[in-house]
């Protein structure tokens, strides 16, 4: 290794740039920035191309992987003529109704439960073990029990989904309540707020961003429980449609159903984010 001092360096000749000063004096070339969005678009396109290639080159039997064209055609047919006695829209409406009925039930139970866990030691003692017990059980495991107890009707299906939604709603509410700033509560109390007024006017609005996050997680959980809920004695619904199709090896309907479920889940996520922006514009800006 050789060390050179400034005095040892030869003076730059006229018309020649100083080798050492070049990286500093010349602006760096601007790098092309690849956005995450572009990367996502490319990923999707590549997957789609692979799918098209695999089916058009008949690398995989259509029973296992129908071509995109077949799936699209099936979408058209099911949308117009239906599949197993109901059109696509009727299947979607049946599933959405179950998920939203379950969501409302989960809010009506989960928010008060979360509030109780967040503000009272006894509430936490009572509800925490129940939720921790329920949370890790997969819906398919308690589905038989619910059918034994409540029959095979609509309430059972809604209940299965609601149970899957309960823990995220309650736990997010509890986390939001526990995160309320002490000063905010003290300020309200010193302005004359009663305990009930503190809950109504300070704790609930403070916890609202967290509650909405809980609803978003709950919708995801509920939507993924849908197929399980529609396993038994359903005559309509996206989950039911996929299962019936699977029994007759109508793979294109299965793939189409999966895509519809994914698109609806994506749309719901988008809507909730919009709602968050309107209802809690202060989240993240405090």
């Amino acid at each position: 290794m050789s060390v050179s001092t400034y005095s040892e360096r030869p003076a730059p000749k006229a018309g020649e740039t100083d080798g050492l000063s070049v990286p500093w004096s010349r602006p760096r070339p601007k790098r092309t920035v690849v956005s995450a969005r572009l990367a996502s678009a490319i990923t999707i396109l590549v997957l789609f191309a692979a799918w098209t290639a695999a089916s058009s080159l008949q690398l995989v039997s259509p029973v296992f992987l129908p071509s995109p064209a077949a799936v699209w055609a099936k979408f058209d047919v099911v949308a117009r003529d239906g599949f197993v006695d109901a059109t696509l829209v009727q299947h979607i409406v049946a599933s959405l109704w179950r998920v939203f009925a379950a969501l409302i039930a989960a809010i009506l139970v989960g928010v008060p439960v979360g509030l109780a866990i967040g503000i009272s030691r006894i509430g936490r003692g009572v509800f925490d073990p129940l939720l921790e017990f329920l949370r890790p059980i997969p819906p398919l495991a308690y589905l038989p029990l619910i059918i034994i107890w409540f029959g095979i009707g609509e309430p059972s299906k809604i209940l299965v989904i609601a149970i899957a939604m309960l823990a995220p709603v309650a736990l997010s509410t509890a986390a939001g309540v526990r995160g309320v700033s002490r000063e905010r509560v003290d300020a309200a109390r010193s302005l004359g707020a009663t305990r009930a007024q503190v809950i109504r006017h300070v704790i609930l609005p403070s916890a609202l961003p967290s509650i909405l996050t809980g609803l978003r997680i709950a919708l995801g959980a509920g939507w993924s429980t849908l197929v399980a809920a529609e396993l038994v004695a359903a005559t309509r619904g996206l989950g039911f449609m996929i299962q019936s199709a699977a029994q007759f090896l109508v793979t294109d309907v299965v793939v189409m159903g999966i895509l519809v479920i994914a698109i609806i889940a994506f749309a719901l996520e988008f809507v909730i984010r919009r709602i968050e922006r309107v209802l809690v514009p202060w989240a993240g800006r405090e």
């Binding site: 003290d186 300020a187 010193s190 004359g192 707020a193 009663t194 202060w282």
Partner: protein, 257 residues
Amino acid sequence: MTHLTLDKVSVHYDGQPAPAVERVSLDIAKGDFVVLVGRSGCGKTSLLNVAAGLVEPAGGLAMVDGRPINGPGSDRAVVFQNDALFPWLTARENVAFALRLRGVSADKRARRADELLSLVKLGDAGDKRIWELSGGMRQRVGLARALAAEPQFLLLDEPLGALDALTRERMQTTLLDLWAAAQVGVLMVTHGIEEALVLATRIVVLAPGPGHVVRTFETNFGRRYAAGEPIRAIKADPGFAAARAELTDSIFEGEAA
């Protein structure tokens, strides 16, 4: 005449080996501006919280006009260092909060809130959201919100502590204006020595281990401002510099060098 009295108050937090405050007595009359100063850990905020009813004293008694304090109340509105405003409400709705709790009608409380907002020179910010306001503006909203409760006492816990030096200086005169306009007794905690001198009618110096009163100064710089003397002239007064040196000495008295 309304008095807020702390009589030989001690504060001992659960799980702490030593008390935070031991036998401190204070008396704040309506129209007083009492400032608590002292090094960290001297129990300034503990005493303020006792007066607010947010902390229960382990010994002694906190009273308003001889009636023991047993919880927070709107006769003693608190303003904290971090504004503790409600971001889901506009500035006006924040100010009107205490009135809403009392069931005052919507347009009445909006009118009162606008009056208070103009008192703190935020007359045109009523519709603003909290996150659109600067730190100084937020503290003004916090003060207006406290005044809306029509308290007899304002308890200020380092209300200017989070502001930059220039905003802080401007807010000091705002505080004096409010104190004069609202005819309240003020108990304030601060770390600022000059701030204490500018504002107080009485400065109580506390020292830690456990918190106790070292000295009490009567000052009149705040009253001189309220009487119309410009704040710069007051601060340039040689008496101000002397008082400042004396106060600084007493704060650091007994501290290992």
